[in-house]
């Protein structure tokens, strides 16, 4: 029921944005935080996550006219775009967000305050890196092949349903189940190899600080 309502709202947003590109702002506002958080959890690098998020939204806005309703929610479509960008990041030595490059070359576009953006990224990165628990868990996850990182993050961190993961990764639910199962086994093995006690200890010690601050 909730899914149907969400999809109806998303459908209205898409139709509006296809008729008036400025209406894409509603979609952006609804999903920016979610997408950035997902990118950050996958890469643990604020600058990279910001670039990936920007690129994903640029591509989404550019291709929104080609978006068709085939039972895949807008949310899943955005996750698919950002997941592909993250794959490209892991595939290449140097990730280059092409849409952003084009945008910076466009003389008519002026970045409001580049210095503030850079300082903000450094500040956030600093906060993130002070969270040993997050960094250790992220580093551990990144030892797995990318496909397992994807399914595990989407299922256990982003709390997506199997059906949604299947839509995002364009695979069957059965495949997702087996990937999850294998991914868990690999993660356990990695945890044993890399010393799980450190992460557990970190979690115990930082839980108090985390709860009191309300952020990372």
């Amino acid at each position: 029921m909730k899914d149907t309502q969400t999809m109806d709202i998303e459908r209205q947003w898409v139709v509006a944005a296809q008729q008036d590109p400025e209406k894409f702002g509603v979609i952006f506002d609804a999903y920016y935080d979610q997408i950035l958080r997902y990118a950050l959890r996958r890469t643990s690098d604020v600058c990279v996550a910001e670039d990936i998020t920007a690129e994903a939204f640029m591509k989404a806005s550019r291709h929104l006219n080609t978006f068709e309703w085939r039972g895949v929610p807008l949310n899943a479509w955005l996750y698919r775009i950002v997941t592909n960008e993250i794959r490209m990041y892991y595939r290449k030595n140097k990730y280059r967000p092409l849409s952003l490059d084009e945008l910076y070359e466009d003389s008519s576009f002026e970045i409001a305050d580049q210095r503030c953006i850079e300082e903000e990224a450094m500040e956030v990165q600093d906060k993130i890196e002070r969270q040993d628990m997050f960094m250790a868990a992220s580093a551990l996850l990144q030892t797995l092949p990318v496909i397992y990182q994807e399914v595990i993050t989407l299922r256990y961190v982003e709390q997506k349903k199997l059906r949604e993961i299947a839509q995002i990764l364009d695979k069957r639910e059965g495949t997702i189940k087996s990937l999850l199962s294998r991914g868990q086994r690999k993660l356990r093995a990695a945890l044993q190899r890399n010393g799980h006690t450190r992460i557990i200890t970190s979690e115990e010690t930082q839980k108090t600080a985390f709860n009191s601050k309300g952020n990372v």
Binding site: P21, E22, F24, G25, F28, D29, Y32, D33, L36, R37, L40, R41, E50, T53, A54, F57, M58, S61, R62, H63, N65, T66, S99, E102, L103, S108, F109, A112, D113, C116, I117, E120, A121, V124, K127, I128, Q131, M133, F134, A136, A137, S138, L140, L141, I152, T153, Y156, V157, L187, R188, L191, Q192, H196, I199, I200, S202, E203, F210, N215, V216
Partner: protein
């Protein structure tokens, strides 16, 4: 290994991330900025049904698109470059005349020059119909030039400079040179220093000191200077005509087939 450890990992990864309002604002501005990227390209619009969602050509359409392109290019080529095309024919004439005009001796006559604007073919057609001009061969042209009544002259030197000789009265005798950089210089000379370029008839006219002729020659000299100053450095291509063997009319075009000026050589 229990699931408890895995849950620790997942809960660690679920940590909330700090907000990034500046980045959010920048990306929002970029995403919503009206720009050409948000519009489908002309190619994409044309090939819309033949592209997938990423805008990549689908294989099965590739053959038909390539075939269509090849046929279109071939037909265009045939239509544009066929010798039967009157426009092409005129342009071939232009090109043929280029080497001839560059070989002209420095005493060849140039008198009246008018700036041309418009379609080259229209200019050629109008020149032929309105002035009863007839295209002439190189041999005919050289023969006519030899009989020309020299007033002033213009030629290209070996180093690519264009030199115009003004041969009217004492005050306007001289040379005007325009080098390849487009710089113009003028040297006034005495009548005696203008050697054999003048015909006997001109010499007689000049020595008579006819004031009207002097004014006319000066006007022509000024016009020649203006023309030279205004003439682009890449003025290279000419077409010549004659009307009843009284004038030689040279239409000049630049390398891009843009009409430049008309020069009438008095005979």
């Amino acid at each position: 290994m229990k699931n408890r450890e895995l849950k620790h990992i997942f809960s660690a990864l679920q940590a909330e991330t700090p907000e990034t309002p500046y980045h959010r604002q920048m990306v929002r501005q970029a995403v919503l900025a009206p720009r050409r990227l948000s519009q489908p390209s002309v190619t994409a619009r044309f090939l819309g049904p033949h592209t997938n969602l990423k805008g990549v050509l689908m294989k099965r359409s590739l053959v038909s698109i390539t075939g269509f392109a090849v046929v279109a290019v071939t037909l265009t080529g045939v239509l544009l470059f066929s010798p039967l095309n009157p426009h092409v024919s005129a342009m071939n004439q232009v090109k043929q005349s280029l080497s001839e005009i560059n070989r002209l001796p420095s005493t060849d006559l140039v008198t009246i020059r008018e700036r041309l604007v418009g379609d080259p073919k229209t200019i050629l057609d109008e020149a032929q119909s309105a002035q009863d001009l007839t295209k002439i061969s190189r041999a005919e042209y050289e023969q006519l030039v030899k009989k020309a009544r020299f007033v002033n002259s213009m030629a290209k030197t070996a180093d690519g400079s264009v030199v115009a000789k003004i041969d009217g009265t004492t005050s306007t005798h001289g040379t005007i040179a325009i080098n390849q950089s487009g710089n113009v210089s003028m040297n006034t000379l005495d009548a005696s220093s203008i050697p054999s370029a003048k015909s006997s008839q001109d010499t007689a006219n000049a020595s008579a000191g006819d004031m009207s002729q002097s004014a006319e020659a000066e006007a022509r000299a000024n016009q020649a200077i203006t023309d030279l100053q205004n003439a682009p450095a890449n003025t290279t291509e000419f077409v010549r005509y004659t009307n009843n063997q009284k004038q030689i009319v040279v239409l000049a075009f630049d390398g891009d087939n843009k009409p430049l000026f008309r020069t009438i050589i008095e005979l």
